[in-house]
């Protein structure tokens, strides 16, 4: 079973202000982009991130071959239970998900 990270060019995540996190999936080419647009569903991503899928925003940016997910942080940046202030390690979960 291969992973999403092996399929695409790059996956990165980052804070978008203290209240949001955004994940960019750079697919690299049209074929991979089209495949992921169809086969990567929001519910699987939301379950992986333990968030309500209603709060997951999805953007498909064809000219860049990017699929982007944004969602409100469960824990505000820097709160006492926050583990990753910049949210930049979260993208690894998507990289390692089976695809």
């Amino acid at each position: 079973m291969s992973t999403l990270g092996e399929k695409v060019k790059n996956i990165r995540s980052k804070n978008a202000g203290p209240f949001w996190i955004t994940i960019d999936i750079f697919c690299g080419n049209k074929k991979v982009y089209d495949d992921i647009c169809i086969n990567l569903n929001n519910l699987d991503v939301a379950n992986l991130l333990m968030i309500d899928s209603k709060n997951l925003k999805r953007f498909e940016i064809e000219n860049l071959k990017v699929i982007k997910f944004s969602f409100p942080r469960n824990i505000i940046q820097g709160n006492i239970y926050d583990r990753d202030m910049h949210g930049a390690q979260l993208g690894i979960l998507l990289s390692e998900m089976s695809y």
């Binding site: 860049l64 990017v66 006492i80």
Partner: protein
């Protein structure tokens, strides 16, 4: 119309940039040098405490290079969000550094300071008058929450920077400002296309992050009435349509829309064309003014005082059973804290993290490894510094010697340093994600002029 050129030396002052690239930038005859001083990205401590994330030495050295470049080019130099958080104290801190450097460099300067910090009573009046609205998601605002905040700032936009330009200052030291406004302000004033002015500003706000070589820092953006050109100034950096367009995604929840004071920008129809191997032309973004003039508010409050302890477990038996060990230790400590300090579990917070296991992702971690050792980080938070230190000292001997079962030899784990407990002082929390509606853009801001 003559184009307007903005030279952006780096994404933030204090992170470094290529001096040769800065020099190339100056040779291109920019109309202004614009740099950011920070944002909320480093966490709530900077705003909560009103201090800079970056070292004074790094900030001063880089600011010196920029002040010399400004003197050579005879153009204005602007910094937004002074000292990471853009409080009034940080604007004054940047002024102090600027005055020291002006003396060292023998420069005569007119300095405009834009103050963006908000008084609690002013925020309360606006709250009562329904002039404050929530963004999504936002902490629930009330008067007592406003009272708890140590610093509140409003993000200035292009309008407040225009007022600074009108003073004819050589150097503008702005408090908290939208990352983009320090770049968009001049082209907007000179009649460049508003959509392009904001779009180009967003692309260049992190310096050369929109190029192939992010650490080189310096980019030049040239704005006109139809669009903008962006070019990296380092020999080893290239802007391509992909690197430029990709930057719209960065730290942006919505890749098409950017909310700014006074309206929003939409890049849905933007087109990116290569001009040569290192320069990109962009057109097509649109600007949509809003009915009301809103500025974003940021605030931080104290949530407690922290003390942390770190212990290292190398013994295979304990590494294997670390979750059970931590649960037993945690339960035991709660009883001890109740017995000896008369504190209930609601009076403090005890958090254990397992470094080497899942300390980064917590419950989200899917992988299981076979670590040779585990670091157990114990974080104590309470309402009082002394209480957190006392709890940590109470935990200390048990963290060192706690056995998994009663019938075994007392273990001794590894403490990496002495003292074992580290008082982390005050910890803060971001408490505002709101908009403040203003009748006049300058209502919540003040400008002061000084000469050196």
């Amino acid at each position: 119309m003559k184009s307007t050129k903005v030279l952006v030396p780096s994404g933030v002052l204090g992170l470094g940039f290529d001096l040769k690239a800065l020099n190339t930038g100056i040779k291109n005859k920019p109309d202004i040098i614009a740099i950011d001083g920070g944002s909320t990205d480093s966490g709530p401590f900077s705003l909560g405490s009103g201090t800079s994330k970056y070292s004074r030495a790094a900030v001063k050295e880089e600011w010196k290079s920029l002040m010399k470049a400004r003197e050579q080019a005879k153009i204005p130099l602007i910094i937004g969000s002074c000292g990471t958080c853009g409080t009034d104290s940080m604007v004054d801190w940047m002024e102090e550094i600027t005055i020291e450097l002006a003396k060292e460099l023998n420069q005569n300067l007119k300095i405009a300071k834009l103050y963006c910090e908000q008084q609690k009573h002013y925020i309360k009046i606006n709250y009562k008058n329904n002039k404050i609205s929530s963004l999504n998601p936002a902490p629930h605002l009330n008067l007592s929450l406003i009272d708890e905040m140590t610093h509140i700032v409003a993000l200035a936009g292009a309008e407040q920077i225009h007022e600074c330009f009108k003073t004819g200052a050589d150097i503008i030291l702005a408090g908290r400002t939208s990352d983009t406004a320090i770049i968009s302000a001049l082209p907007l004033m000179k009649g460049a296309d508003p959509g392009a002015s904001w779009h180009g500003a967003k692309i260049a706000e992190c310096g050369a992050l929109c190029s192939s070589n992010p650490t080189s820092g310096v980019v030049l953006v040239e704005f006109d009435e139809f669009g903008f050109n962006v070019e990296a100034m380092s020999k080893n950096a290239f802007c391509t349509p992909d690197t430029v367009a990709a930057h719209m995604l960065y730290e942006n929840a919505d890749p098409f829309i950017l909310l700014e004071p006074g309206g929003y920008m939409n890049v849905t129809n933007a087109c990116y064309y290569p001009i040569n191997s290192s320069k990109v032309r962009v057109e097509g973004a649109t600007w949509h003014p809003s009915k009301n003039y809103n500025v974003k508010l940021e605030g931080a409050r104290i949530v407690g005082y922290q003390t942390s302890l770190l212990v290292l477990l190398r013994d295979h038996y304990y590494v294997k059973n670390v979750i059970e060990w931590t649960e037993k230790l945690s339960n035991f400590m709660k009883k001890e804290i109740k017995l000896r300090m008369k504190l209930d579990i609601s009076d403090y917070c005890l958090d254990f993290r397992h470094i080497g296991m899942n300390s980064t992702l917590g419950d989200l971690e899917k992988k299981e490894g076979n670590p040779v050792e585990i670091g157990v980080l114990c974080i104590v938070t309470s309402k009082n510094n002394n209480i957190s230190t006392e709890i940590a000292k109470l935990i200390n001997p048990f963290l060192l010697h706690f056995p998994l079962t009663v019938n075994e030899e007392l273990p001794t784990f590894a403490f990496p340093y002495s003292p074992v407990h580290s008082d982390r002082g005050c910890v803060y929390e971001f408490s505002l994600n709101h908009l403040l509606q203003l009748n006049n853009p300058m209502d919540a801001f003040q400008i002061q002029i000084s000469e050196v």
